[in-house]
Amino acid sequence: MKDNEVYESWIQKKRQIDVSQYFTDRVMKDVYQWRQSRKSSPFTIDRLIELISFHPLAKFGLVAAGAATGIVRLIIIINTILSNGVING
């Protein structure tokens, strides 16, 4: 038996797949269930993560807010050090 023939028939075998009759229905059931759960609890951590992950503006907003908080904190620390220095000096 030639190697090429074996290889090709193996590939053909690997390409064969049986899909369950109700696979699509199962997926659609999941989809509708997920939609329903979203409707019943609109403000969950998952929704928040989803919002941040999928919307570039939300992502940018979060990063900008983090950066602003960091800068403010740095200013406060520097200010504290300087004022302490002035007091001590």
């Binding site: 190697d3 074996v6 797949i17 999928f54």
Partner: protein, 180 residues
């Protein structure tokens, strides 16, 4: 036939039932790819179900300018397969290849033995090489699309496929030699 982008637009505009068309269109290649990647035909549909649900959830983030829907969907399937292998600790050799049908003629028996050797060789490949080979040989995806899914250059994919094929050829030559 309605194009993927048309269906996606309809789903995003609130026609959830249109998503069924996408599932029907891609269920076979997605399930087959997962089955061949995780080497478990029993759980591949469960993983595929997760893939389609994730695709539905993430659909608003799909950007046609960055690639086709199939590339995007196969990327989700690739990632879910990797997670499934990690999570469920499906070792590459945990599911031995299907037993050959010993009722056939001698030629068929030899062929089945060689198929088992090829399955073993496939499952012993480096995961990245295996994914590239599965997508190229079983799914017939172009190298460019595989490179996009894997997030690497086309040259890397070509090299992975060549190495994988070389390993399979060696396994086949060895097994064929033993049988003869």
């Amino acid at each position: 036939m309605i194009e993927d982008t048309g269906i996606i637009r309809a789903v995003l505009e609130g026609d959830t039932e249109s998503f069924r068309l996408l599932v029907q269109r891609y269920q076979k290649p997605v399930i087959r790819m997962i089955a061949n990647l995780i080497n478990d035909r029993h759980i591949c549909e469960d993983v595929a179900q997760e893939v389609f649900l994730a695709a539905y959830k993430k659909l608003p983030s799909f950007d046609p300018a960055r690639g086709g829907f199939s590339t995007w969907l196969f990327t989700i399937a690739r990632n879910k397969s990797i997670n499934a292998i990690k999570k469920r600790k499906i070792l590459s050799m945990s599911n031995p290849p299907e037993n050959p049908d010993f009722s056939g003629p001698a030629d068929s028996l030899i062929r089945d033995e060689l198929f088992i050797e090829l399955d073993r060789a496939l499952n012993s490949l480096n995961p990245g090489h295996k994914r590239a080979l599965v997508m190229a040989e079983f799914e017939n995806l172009p190298y460019e699309q595989i490179a996009q899914i894997e997030g690497v250059k086309i040259g890397t994919i070509k090299s992975r496929i060549n190495r994988a094929k070389h390993r399979l050829r060696s396994a086949l030559e060895g097994a064929n030699g033993d049988i003869k």
